[in-house]
């Protein structure tokens, strides 16, 4: 307990690093996968290869990706960029499937109604397709966010890992407290992020409150 009191500065710093190392890839993942998913629904031959590629990329162990990336894109081995890019790749490879499924779940008659009252493509996608796809996209987004928060810690092995650095610290000093603090904060962060996303989804889909929620996809 005294360790926690003596090291609040360190804990806050690592918590802060953990938050942005996990949230930036989530946002980037969403920003990349939504247009990509839209393109894949327009040119449907792209959809299956993209989802398959996502499956392969998602199966890569995170530590492997953290180390292979510098060799491919030329970043420094101990750079935060590796973690952010690797987690963004995971986010896109998982989200792309949900975005495609979500956009495909928009009923055909709704699309036709929008076109016939004069909606242009961009306006239709933003104001009609995406809101209808929100529940399916958010199912993937919740998985991505929680998985990212737990994966950031692995980065501590190569020196950039937010709360993960409390694990390596505790391990090197044969001292349990930092590890327990790290695990608890990491779990709490995942829980808060998940609850926030559920809240955000409710805000974005006010009509869904009246009906049965979309059945969650089991992965």
């Amino acid at each position: 307990m005294t360790w926690i009191g003596d090291n609040t500065g360190l804990i806050w710093t690592q918590l802060g690093q953990h938050i942005y190392l996990s949230l930036i890839p989530m946002v980037l993942g969403l920003v990349i996968s939504v247009p990509l998913g839209y393109v894949a629904t327009r040119f449907s031959w792209l959809a299956n290869p993209l989802v398959a590629l996502g499956g392969v990329l998602y199966s890569l162990p995170s530590i492997a990706l953290f180390i292979v990336l510098p060799a491919i894109i030329g970043t420094k081995v101990l750079s935060q960029a590796n973690i952010i890019i690797a987690l963004t790749i995971y986010a896109v490879s998982l989200l792309i499937r949900n975005v495609i499924d979500g956009l495909r779940s928009v009923p055909e008659d709704v699309l036709q109604a929008a076109v016939s009252v004069g909606y242009g493509t961009l306006r239709r996608v933003v104001t009609i397709d995406l809101p209808i796809a929100v529940p399916v996209i958010f199912t993937g987004l919740r998985v991505v966010t929680v998985a990212n928060i737990s994966m950031v810690s692995v980065g501590a092995i190569i020196g950039v890992g937010g709360l993960g650095q409390l694990f390596t610290l505790g391990f090197q000093q044969d001292f349990l407290t930092p590890i327990v603090v790290g695990v608890v904060l990491s779990l709490a962060l995942a829980l808060i992020a998940d609850i926030s996303l559920v809240g955000l989804q409710r805000l974005l889909t006010p009509w869904a409150r009246a009906v049965v929620p979309v059945k969650e996809v089991v992965r």
Binding site: L60, P61, I63, F66, A71, S153, G164, F167, F171, G182
Partner: protein, 237 residues
Amino acid sequence: MIQGFLDYITDPANWSGAEGISNRIAQHLGYTFLSLLIAAVIAFPVGLLIGHTRRGAFIAINTANAWRALPTLGLLTLVVLLIGIGKVPVIIALVVLGIPPILASTYAGVSGVDRATIDAARGMGMTGREILTKVEIPIALPLIISGLRSATLQIVSTATVAAYVALGGLGRYVIDGLSLRDFPQMLTGAVLVAVLAILLDLCFAAIGRYAVSAGLTGRLRRNTDTKTSTAPAPAGV
């Protein structure tokens, strides 16, 4: 950087011996299969029980959700500090990470079987055990296999990280290479683990393709259709 990696991985001297690549791959696969086996032995029956009786679903779903949030490095360092350095604590940690996906997908597969199908089986006079083994498990098989697949990928990945707490396997190249600032060696470990994960993933895809009943996948539907419609009369008649 890539040249150094190619030199490292194509050097025969790096492939042989106790610290050679062949042995590290064998170790990595050994840890993975041992942990997967123990996790399956524990999780599979529990998943079947919860799915078959449809009680305790709350536990199955929540363990699976909490599992995703658990930082693997935290779990590894915690278990090793509590039990001590060695293979056993690490295997325990790997098993702990392997259980939730198998449990959750077995539960989801078995409890997702259409009630009408189960009623039909019961109507034909099947006992509870027969319904489980002849109806529920075969129908749940695609999900069960995908749960095993998730567990395997998680274990392969975590076994790499476990080199940090003194496990052998391919993670050794990553951790040792890092402390020596030997980047080609790190890259060798990372690439081999990635290839191993993809190969295991393909194995599960193949198992899924051939183990799942043709009646479920529709793989043989066209064949059976033509057989039933154009089947010649038995020769002896």
